[in-house]
């Protein structure tokens, strides 16, 4: 561990321990207020549009975004912008198509909406599978990221780091449910925005707020020169470009832990507000990461303090933002940013775990197994047990995957979200002729295709399994898996002549009215 990193341990540790203490206090406060399933899953509907916007943004501004995208900008310049934009443009789509219907039709998670007029059991199983697959992949990637980050920053052993994250996340969710996770996410979002703003500000100040000056210096310094100002080799062909673009845009609309937040507000009006605030914060954040990435190019490249003997950045490109904070703000800033990066991971994994727990307890247990005949107490109990089990599994898998390349997991999570979750929700809300059978078969086709093509693609088939050439030539399956899903849903719905199909179609009108007006919807305070 390099000498200056040892110095920041004190600042980082203090900030981080402060964050943990405050969030545990909040969890205790939240636990006093968490008495019903409504409280546990959706914070009793008491979250305001602004708070929810901040919490959603927080869920989105994960360590992967903050460190990953600024790292990508540091390495390739313009290509980092591709990801940022992709992550952002899904939000208007959610707003126009999904925000109000979701809030009006559902109660706790998106399965409520997806299974609204269909045969509950079948759709809930599929939706729960889609949710769990997305959550699991995302969780493993986050846990591995957390372990590595802490290892580099604080010098703790990897396994210890993963266990600490796991235990804290179990505590937040089991005791505090959605109230705790919302507040943890909120606080972290504020800290992250403050910290990132400060770093970006310091970078710009150095160039007297002249962007062109920053760009010029970065172009001079970077090995790729002007290449950083235009698309690089990140996306190698048109199909991959479109596929990635689709996954980012529509995957957002299928992430269970994000969609879950739509049910924490009072009504559709607040749901709309949530999206606007969230979009605002996220857009601002991505502009910051862009500036940070370029700042990192200028301050860190060719600088012996931050690079190892071979000229590579210490800790890898993911450490660009953290190293930059040291370069512009010294030990104090670096300590703060490190603690915030860690807090970021904690907050996101808590939200993911809650989404996973709801899939198990609300969908599988309460609806599929018990057919709706459960008491609040029973469902709450199963929720908490599920949380603990998921937490333990996350710890175990985080340790198991330590040396695996987990970057593909987030990509696959988005692909599944775009190919299984999103098509089912979107079509069930808008397309009258969709039936249970169409949903089940089409959704499964989307899910299966995404997983299969990912396995047969370069990232798994070649990099992980060691074969010579990939069977599926593109790195991103979304274009194909989404097509499979939409086609499957369409085909198996129009050819569905069953009795159930007739019920499904007949129930559309009442569902649509409720989706549009909220009349008949569950208002939490009733």
């Amino acid at each position: 561990m390099h000498k200056y990193l040892e110095n920041i341990n004190a600042t980082a540790a203090t900030t981080f321990i402060g964050f943990v203490i405050i969030t545990l206090l909040i969890t205790w406060w939240a636990s006093l207020r968490t008495k019903t399933t409504s409280d546990f899953y959706s914070a009793g509907g008491k979250v305001t549009g602004f708070q929810n916007g901040l919490a959603i943004a927080g869920d989105y501004m994960s360590a992967a975004s903050f460190l990953g995208i600024s790292g990508l900008v540091f390495t390739s310049g313009f290509d980092g912008l591709l990801y940022s934009i992709g992550f952002l443009v899904g939000w208007p789509i959610i707003l126009f198509l999904l925000a109000e219907p979701l809030r009006n039709l559902g109660r706790y998670n998106f399965s409520d909406v997806a299974s609204f007029r269909f045969q509950q059991s079948k759709i809930r199983i599929l939706a729960a599978l889609g949710s769990l697959a997305t959550v699991a992949l995302y969780l493993i990637a986050q846990m591995v990221g957390a372990g590595k980050l802490i290892e580099v920053l604080f010098g703790l052993p990897y396994n210890t780091a993963v266990i600490i994250v796991g235990i804290l996340m179990i505590a937040y969710v089991t005791f505090g449910g959605m109230i705790a996770t919302t507040w943890v996410q909120l606080i972290k979002a504020v800290l992250l925005l403050m910290g990132a703003s400060a770093v970006a500000f310091l970078v710009l100040q150095h160039f007297k707020f002249d962007l062109s000056d920053l760009f010029t210096k970065a172009v001079e310094t970077h090995s790729n020169k002007e290449g950083i100002m235009r698309p690089g080799g990140m996306v190698k062909d048109p199909i991959s470009a479109i596929s990635l673009g689709l996954a980012l845009m529509f995957g957002t609309a299928g992430l269970p832990h994000i969609l879950m937040r739509f049910f924490t507000v009072k009504d559709a009006k607040q749901a709309n507000r949530s999206v606007v605030y969230a979009t605002g914060f996220i857009a601002y954040f991505y502009i910051l990461t862009f500036i940070i990435g370029f700042g990192a190019i200028v301050f860190l490249s060719n600088n012996p303090i931050y690079n190892d003997a071979s000229g590579a950045l210490i800790g890898g490109s993911n450490m660009a933002a953290v190293q930059l904070s040291h370069a512009v703000g010294g030990d104090l800033m670096m300590g703060f940013i490190s603690a915030v990066a860690f807090a970021t991971i904690l907050a996101v994994v808590a939200g993911l775990t809650l989404a996973g727990a709801s899939a198990i307890s609300h969908d599988l247990y309460a609806h599929v197994i018990k057919h709706g005949k459960v008491t609040e107490r029973q469902e709450m109990k199963v929720s908490k047990i599920s949380t603990i089990i998921l937490g333990i599994m996350a710890i175990y898998l985080g340790i198991a995957f330590e040396n695996q390349n987990v970057a593909f997991m987030v990509g696959l999570a988005f692909a599944i979200a775009a190919s299984a979750n999103f098509p089912i929700i979107a079509l069930s809300i808008y397309w009258r002729r969709m039936t249970t059978r169409g949903a089940v078969v089409g959704g499964s086709m989307g899910l299966g295709t995404a997983v299969l093509l990912m396995i047969l693609g370069k990232t798994v088939w070649v990099d992980v399994l060691g074969h010579a050439a990939p069977i599926f030539p593109y790195e991103y399956p979304a274009l194909f898996s989404m097509t499979a899903a939409f086609f499957g849903i369409w085909f198996f719905s129009v050819t569905d002549k069953s009795e159930r199909g007739k019920i499904d179609r007949a129930a559309f009108d009442a569902q649509y009215i409720r989706a549009q007006t909220g009349i008949g919807a569950n208002m939490h305070d009733k």
Binding site: F78, L81, V89, F96, K269, A283, I287, R514, Q516
Partner: protein
């Protein structure tokens, strides 16, 4: 207890006939659909440029260093903000008003 969705109850069906409801649907999607298409087209064009014509995005701007691609990208970010903000102002005022009217009419 777990709620179940309303199954075609008459109470909700009469809403379908209300002129206010029909106006709501029309007014909502006459705004939402074009805006959704706008962001889709702008974004897909960007992706297609990256894929098929990256040299266009590489065109250098008057300041001598930034590129058309960077400004296009920033433009998309700003467009996203503008259309989300605009839609919410519209939905939370005009459309909400229609919904209140429907609720009031039902009594």
């Amino acid at each position: 207890m777990i709620d179940t969705p309303p199954k075609n109850d008459a109470g909700v069906q009469d809403i379908a006939q209300m002129p206010e409801y029909k106006a709501l649907i029309k007014k909502r999607y006459i705004v939402a659909v074009p805006l959704a298409l706008l962001i889709l087209v702008v974004y897909i064009s960007f992706i297609l440029l990256v894929a098929y014509a990256p040299h266009i995005l590489a065109i250098v701007m008057p300041d001598g260093v930034s590129t058309f691609g960077i400004w296009y990208g920033l433009g998309i970010i700003i467009l996203t903000l503008v259309i989300t903000g605009a839609y919410v102002v519209y939905a939370n005022s005009t459309l909400e008003q229609l919904i209140s009217d429907i609720q009031a009419k039902r009594g």
